[in-house]
Amino acid sequence: MPIAFKQVSYEYSPGTPFAYDALKNVSVEISLGKVTAIIGSTGSGKTTLVQHLNALLLPSKGEVEVLDRVILSSEKPKQLKSLRQQVGLVFQFPEYQLFEETIIKDVMFGPLNFGIEKEEALLRSMHALTVVGLDETFAEKSPLDLSGGQKRRVAIAGILAIDPNVLVLDEPTAGLDPQGSKSMMSLFMKMNRDYGKTVLIVTHDMEHVLNYCDEVIVLNQGSVVLKTDVKSFFRDEKLLDELNICPPKIVSMRRKLNDRGLHLDEGIVDVATLAKEIAGRVK
């Protein structure tokens, strides 16, 4: 398995009064080439989990296998640089991390740091900016002149310019307006469908999980309680209730209609299909 957590535990501030187990004996595999959602309430360990993927955090116990490398506790993995080149991590609110005087310089910082030649880095960065929907007129502007959503795009372009195989996004749509968050999710879909990237998204938005993700990992108090494909996840009403997850609107409506004896197929997850199904049944 190319990405796998094997009995991983992580403790923050060990040996101090603030010691805290953020991950407890986590074993889970992440499928390459898919879009995986990581969900769970605040403090459940989502961010801690994904920060292991490029060895920003090292496990206190257990091991993490990432693309033929093994990350162990207390031992820095060899070839750390090439690991970080292959696993691109976008933090929460990455717009606060822009620091260069022009946008293009900021995007180029990553590739240059990884030893890419300047010309190549420039080409890649221009391309990355186009991919995130900012044309060349933005290149020489100051990042400070952009809106919050645009800044976030620049930060993501900075990761895309490194051209990682695995893209990890920690709450990438938090605080964006509906349109901004939709186009952000489409961008990640494109990275997966057209460029074959493995995408991991930490999110609270169940509509996004349903509409964009293939698989879902549920965390609770530092443990993985479930890993499954998204369709069967939203089919299991009992489980959703147990996990205290408010299902997407379409799922609740289907549930309510079925409670009234409609027997709608549980595979119906979008409004268009629901309407078609209902229309087909009108006598």
């Binding site: 605040t42 959503g149 307006d177 509906p178 349109q179 004896g261 309407a275 209902i278």
Partner: protein, 275 residues
């Protein structure tokens, strides 16, 4: 009674493009108003103009019958409290208690009375057990509730929320929304909420839709939110039930554009369906 009255408001950040163009509206006392619009449509600019953080180029703002001018700005600000989007950007005190105290100290409230006021409002937002806590160790929802307590301690008549829940997780969002509803009811507080949360809009009394600095639609949610095509054109969200009604229309099935999920389910069950 009209508590907020805005006439022909115009504002430009750079003297080239108007961020707010000829906007007029009014808000009745004790009502819940939502302002929606995509990023950059001028929503937050309106909020900043109302509290005089930025100065209008043209037009008139009247709060509780007081015209906002350089001379009346502090009277106006006494009537309005505002909570911003990012919970981390509005903490001043090193403990929850200090943070709530900040506004009171600024208003030179008698220190002997301060403790009682702080306790009262910490209780109101359900943060009484956290008075000595450091803000950094609170969740986003808790931080926003403390921010609201700090604002309430100033006893405003109007509470403006500038995307106050958009950075919160579902639990935090629920906590803050429930608190705002409670304040709205209990104090007859006028609420003006800038939001992207369509569920919040549905339960409001009136909604303003902003696009490119103008209010392009206004009215009660039931009248405004059914114009799905216009909303989508402006990159805005449409209530789920409206999406269902629109899809059904394609098949020649007419149902009422209700905002209420239960009513929509009821309508669908009334159709002559084979089960």
């Amino acid at each position: 009674m009209k508590q907020v009255e805005v006439k022909n408001l115009r504002f430009s950040y750079d003297d080239e493009v108007d961020a707010v163009k000829n906007v007029s509206f009014s808000v009745e006392k004790g009502t819940y108003t939502c302002i929606i619009g995509h990023n950059g449509s001028g929503k937050s600019t309106i909020a900043k103009l109302l509290i005089g953080l930025i100065d209008r180029n043209e037009g008139e703002i009247m709060i509780d019958g007081i015209v906002l001018t350089d001379k009346t700005i502090y009277d106006v600000r006494n009537k309005i409290g505002i909570v911003f989007q990012n919970p981390d950007n509005q903490f001043i005190g090193s403990t929850v208690k200090d943070d709530i105290a900040f506004g009171l100290e600024n208003h030179q409230v008698d220190p002997a009375k301060m403790d009682e006021i702080i306790h009262h409002f910490a209780k109101e937002v359900n943060m009484i057990d956290y008075l000595e806590n450091e803000p950094t160790r609170l969740s986003g929802g808790q931080k926003q509730r403390v921010a609201i307590a700090g604002v309430l301690a100033m006893r405003p008549d109007i509470l403006i929320l500038d995307e106050a829940t958009s950075m919160l997780d579902p639990k935090g969002k629920e906590e803050v929304n429930a608190l705002v509803d409670r304040i709205h009811e209990a104090h007859d507080m006028t609420i003006i909420s800038i939001t992207h949360d369509i569920e919040e809009v549905i339960k409001s009394d009136q909604v303003f839709v902003m696009n490119e600095g103008e209010i392009v639609m206004q009215g009660c949610p039931n009248d405004v939110l059914v114009h799905a095509d216009k909303l989508i054109e402006m990159a805005l969200d449409v209530p789920f039930t409206v999406k269902v009604a629109l899809e059904l229309k394609k098949y020649g099935i007419d149902v009422d554009m209700t905002m209420d999920m239960e009513r929509m389910v009821e309508q669908l069950c009334q159709l002559p369906l084979s089960k």
